[in-house]
């Protein structure tokens, strides 16, 4: 075959820094085929162009349309690495050190190329599941130790077992792609880069619990993810992987994408279900849990994108193989997202137990500003601010709890020494006030009072008294809120006070 194949990510983050124009410039060259893929998750290198060579795919970082001609003159298409190349991408240490399970195909294949999906190991998990009894599939999940990746870390096997054992005329499988946490983007990248993995995970769930209809709730801030998923769903129908009697089996399953409408709280599962039903996204009191009374009152599996994305491998290789990875009660791999003031931001999928320091310093390469790390927020806007002295904490659910933090959806946001804890504590309260669903008073009113109280502390007005008041308010919110929005907002606030007390007392500075 003559001609060269080059790969250019069509991932939103790559496109946000110019990947489309690069693809266009490369596409206008003679004898060049451009394949658009997801992103490898080495986001600081985007746009990262890869060229097919006999040695493997060779990468060129931070390409702009302006440098394409020069790179070609240097020998970009010659079949060997030249100039600014990072070499064979699969061997690039940052990537090679990771353990990519859920993200194995992201950035490698064209997202909706169903033949490529199969060539790269796709459908193996579902194929095995389809010859197993539903209860056996559930037990495989339980044996894997998989816990929900959306934030709460609830064991997936137990959730599925409950849905399987609840009889009803209709059951649903819903995927939570609301991904409202700032500092997180793995759900988006998986949906954009390898949508069939998500569909496969949902199909396994459908078979396991006896559901025949499913919904993916995608936040409206992610239009590209929704579009890719819709395309993938069409392709899957056309190839007999969705619809009636999938691949000749007894499983029938219809899948739909629904859009959120700009409300953070709709990531909370019961609020998401309300929204899917066409209502205000107000949180429901639990019980009943969605596994028993979920969408339209029917037993419903609700899982995060990354939870479903772990399922195909668990079925293909067995629950025991997944359970062999990780640390403590955190089994398998976790997809960490490195963001904020960090030199090498992106996706780090590794076994649980890696230290925060490894993530921030080794993978992250320190801050982009070159200043010392002062704080790291782990777990999204409701997660704790940890000081640099806590960097040795192993990243698993329990170890993070011990230092007063939480894993959440695996977001890691790095700050340098310009971090202002008082300002960010105020921001946490402001965010809660703006995004509260309004159903309960501690959250709706408490967060507003929180903003005002922190303002007084920052201004130095009756500082001691207001700090006490703030502490009291946090206790009320923690104890009295219906859901974790109001219940966890005190976590960033109180961790900021605990670890960075000096920022709340600026009288002398």
């Amino acid at each position: 075959m003559s001609g060269s194949t080059v790969y250019v990510p069509a991932d939103s983050s790559a496109v946000a820094v110019g990947a489309d124009a690069v693809a266009e410039a490369l596409g206008s060259l003679e004898d060049v085929t451009v394949v658009r893929t997801g992103s490898r998750g080495m986001l600081w290198l985007e746009p990262l162009v890869e060229v097919e060579t006999p040695a493997g795919r060779v990468g060129y970082p931070n390409v702009t349309p302006g440098v394409v001609a020069g790179l070609v003159a240097e020998g970009l298409l010659s079949g060997v690495a030249v100039g600014a190349s990072i070499g064979v991408v699969d061997e690039y240490p940052w990537l090679a050190r990771q353990h990519r399970v859920s993200f194995a195909r992201v950035g490698v294949i064209a997202p909706t190329d169903i033949a490529a999906y199969e060539e790269h190991g796709g459908w193996a998990g579902l194929r095995r599941a389809l010859v197993m009894e539903p209860a056996e599939v559930v037990e495989e999940l339980a044996a894997s130790g998989l816990r929900g990746r959306g934030g709460a870390g609830f064991p997936t096997g137990i959730k599925w077992r409950t849905v399987l054992q609840t009889s009803a005329d209709l059951k649903f499988v819903c995927c939570n792609l609301d991904e409202g946490d700032s500092g997180t983007f793995a759900d988006r990248m998986l949906a954009e880069g390898d949508p069939f993995t998500l569909i496969e995970g949902m199909l396994v769930a459908a078979h396991a619990v006896g559901a025949r209809e499913g919904y993916i709730y995608c936040r409206s801030e992610y239009p590209a993810a929704a579009a890719t998923l819709r395309r993938a769903i069409d392709v899957a129908y056309a190839h007999g992987w969705l619809g009636d009697r999938i691949q000749g089996s007894d499983l029938s399953f219809d899948l739909f994408v629904r859009l959120g409408a700009g409300a953070y709280i709709c990531g909370e599962e019961t609020s998401m279900l309300e929204s899917l039903e066409g209502r205000r996204g107000e949180v429901r009191a639990k019980p009943p849990i969605p596994a028993i009374e979920g969408l339209f009152g029917r037993p419903t599996v609700v899982n995060n994108v990354l939870t479903f994305a772990a399922v195909p491998m668990i079925l293909a290789d067995g629950g025991a193989a997944y359970a062999a990875l990780g640390s403590g009660r955190s089994r398998g791999t976790q997809v960490f997202q490195l963001a904020g003031n960090v030199r090498q931001g992106g996706i780090v999928e590794t076994d649980f137990g890696i230290s925060l320091r490894d993530l921030v310093e080794d993978y992250g390469g320190g801050t982009v500003t070159g200043r010392p790390v002062r704080a790291v927020q782990v777990g999204g806007p409701l997660g704790a601010y940890l000081p640099a002295t806590d960097l040795d904490v192993p990243m698993d659910y329990e170890a993070l709890l011990e230092v007063g933090g939480m894993l959440g959806h695996g977001g890691v946001v790095v700050w340098d020494d310009t971090f202002d804890a008082a300002r960010m504590a105020r921001f946490a309260m402001e965010f809660c006030a703006k995004e509260s669903c309004g159903k309960c008073t501690p959250c709706r009113i408490g967060s507003q009072r929180g903003v005002e109280t922190i303002d007084r502390i920052i201004a130095g007005t009756e500082r001691e008294r207001n700090l006490l008041l703030l502490d009291d308010l946090c206790t009320t919110m923690t104890k009295g809120s219906l859901c974790a929005m109001g219940g966890l907002t005190p976590m960033p606030v109180q961790s900021a006070i605990r670890h960075f007390a000096e920022d709340f007392d600026r009288r002398t500075s």
Partner: protein
């Protein structure tokens, strides 16, 4: 084409026919309301009181229920959409790379333009390449104040 007696009532009629068509198209979807509201905003830019009434009628819901949903979600705007929108990210990851100060100047300059609406958003999923903003529905990363203003300059010409 015939002229309507009053141009505005002709528009109103066409508008209500459009909304009715969209609502009917999705009426049998489960939990159709969100789908219909998205479709109407995508086609008409915003929702008017009469649109809410039409949708309620087709979906067999009360006007109050539909209004309640419209008012809960940011995306369902009830005032006419401006020519251009700029959504600046205020999420923590973008703040960690100075988004607030990077955007402050641009925000001030754009405030004087009535063709542009500037709004805040909490995370666009581009947190490793901030500061981020959505400009007319397109995501941009690694923004500086100048680059952001540069993106909006084409509109003036």
């Amino acid at each position: 084409m015939t002229h309507a007696t009053s141009p505005s009532s002709g528009l109103d009629l066409r508008r209500s026919e459009t909304v009715r068509r969209l609502a009917e198209q999705h009426a049998t979807d489960r939990g159709a309301l969100m789908v219909v509201l998205h479709a109407a905003v995508a086609e008409l830019g915003h929702l008017e009181r009469t649109d809410v009434e039409t949708i309620a009628d087709v979906l067999n819901l009360s006007v109050a229920d539909v209004h309640g949903v419209v008012s809960f979600y940011k995306d369902f705007r009830t005032d006419p959409a401006p020519a251009h929108t700029v959504h600046l990210c205020r999420g923590e990851a973008c703040q960690a790379v100075g988004a607030e100060s990077v955007f402050a100047q641009a925000r001030a300059q754009l405030a004087h333009r009535d063709d542009v609406e500037v709004d805040e958003v909490f995370c666009l999923g581009n947190c490793a390449l901030g500061p981020s903003a959505m400009v007319d529905g397109r995501l941009h990363g690694r923004l500086s104040g100048e680059r952001l203003l540069g993106l909006t300059e084409e509109w003036v010409r």
